[in-house]
């Protein structure tokens, strides 16, 4: 083989190696889980997922890296509710579970703008706090006003988390979740209390915020309402007639007295 050809082959091989990892990533990247939340009632945010309200939730399982996690998603007209549970033996004092919200469906870290975090402060006492952070280019800044809520419950190695995230939140430090729009949610467990954290397990899901369907009109309730209106009109007419009769009677009495 000629020297020049050899150089060309070598260049081609180098070029192929440079391209390969990217194309490999593109084709092997797992398809992102898309969730259409179910509508239901507003659960009490206390870390108790046995609340009957959660029966209506969309339920699935995701892997926080390799940690199987139950993910429940539910929506009301005003809030998005996320329930999470997993089994994990934790012996670190300051673990956290965070939901990092993207302003689009992109997994890119630059698109993550909001973080709702439950931070354990004292594992032995079960103390935790809910934190609302604003993310700007992977720099986490505590929100001046905390929006949403979160709670944690721990039974030996079973961990339960509940989050409520407001929709149409106009706070510039939060992602404004709107109906009929999709947003990426990065669910991250990690430790200690530095975000996004070095020791983390995470999963990325896309949640399609649903537009509430107008409540169906109950025909019985509507009929009863119409009956009540008709009866009120009849009563009003009856009272008017009665008042008219009384004025005539008063005139009659006056005439008789004279």
């Amino acid at each position: 083989m000629k020297r020049s050809n050899l150089k060309l082959v070598a260049l081609l091989l180098i070029f192929q190696f440079l391209i390969m990892p990217n194309s490999f990533l593109i084709y092997t990247k797992a398809s992102t889980l898309e969730i259409n939340p179910e509508f239901g009632g507003a659960p009490q945010i206390d870390g108790d997922l046995s609340d009957e309200v959660w029966d209506d939730a969309f339920k699935t399982t995701v892997n926080l890296t390799d940690l199987p996690t139950n993910l429940w998603v539910m929506q009301t007209d005003t809030h998005l509710y996320i329930g999470l549970s997993f089994n994990l033996h934790v012996d670190v004092e300051k673990s956290f579970l965070g939901i990092f919200i993207s302003n689009s469906t992109s997994q890119s870290i630059s698109n993550l703008k909001d973080a709702k975090i439950i931070q354990n402060t004292n594992l032995s006492n079960g103390d935790y706090e809910f934190l609302d952070y604003y993310i700007n280019n992977n720099v986490f800044t505590l929100d001046s006003e905390s929006n949403g809520n979160g709670a944690e419950k721990n039974k030996t190695d079973d961990w339960y988390y509940e989050f409520s995230i407001p929709l149409y939140c106009n706070d510039p430090e939060d992602v404004n979740l709107k109906y009929d729009h999709s947003y990426g949610f990065n669910i991250t467990w990690g430790y200690p209390d530095v975000y996004p954290g070095d020791n983390i397990a995470s999963a990325f899901v896309v949640i399609n915020i649903q537009t509430p369907t107008p409540a169906a009109i109950d025909p019985i309730a509507l009929s009863l309402f119409i009956i009540a209106i008709i009866i009120s009109c009849i009563t009003g007419a009856y009272l008017s007639l009665y008042l008219f009769k009384i004025t005539i009677l008063k005139k009659k009495i006056k005439r008789v007295i004279r």
Binding site: F225, I231, T235, L239, Y242
Partner: protein
């Protein structure tokens, strides 16, 4: 003798006049109260303004208060209207008949048709009220 008879007639006439005046004032005052409670009943039973003031969370005490206002407004309407009609018929010289009472009974009862509890309690209250008036009339 005629002078004595004339004086007697004037006294009974004055008494009759006083009774008529009293009955008329009672009729009018009861009617005004009836109209007042009818407006309250419309606001709470038909427009259901109490539910509009409530949040999505159901609080038992507020629910009880809601039903109580509905029932009391309806029963008060029936009570004052019955007194008013009774006085009106009395002034006309004939007693209130069953048709009048039944008509008023239905008008009162169907105001609460939107709420099952209010409807049930109002029905019970109305029956008690009618029985009470019937018994005191007989006694």
């Amino acid at each position: 003798m005629p002078k004595f008879e004339k004086g007697k007639l004037n006294k009974s006439q004055k008494s009759q006049e006083f009774n008529q005046d009293f009955a008329f004032r009672s009729l009018l005052f009861s009617l005004l109260l009836g109209i007042f409670f009818f407006i309250i009943s419309i606001l709470f039973n038909v427009a259901d303004i109490f539910s509009l003031l409530l949040t999505s969370e159901e609080v038992l005490i507020l629910e009880i208060l809601n039903v109580a206002i509905k029932v009391l407004a309806s029963l008060a309407f029936f009570f004052f209207m019955l007194i008013s009609i009774g006085n009106y018929k009395d002034l006309l010289g004939k007693p209130a008949n069953w048709k009048d009472i039944a008509f008023l009974f239905c008008l009162t009862l169907f105001q609460t048709v939107r709420n099952t509890f209010a409807f049930g309690i109002t029905l019970f209250g109305l029956i008690l009220m009618v029985l009470y008036f019937y018994i005191i009339q007989e006694v």
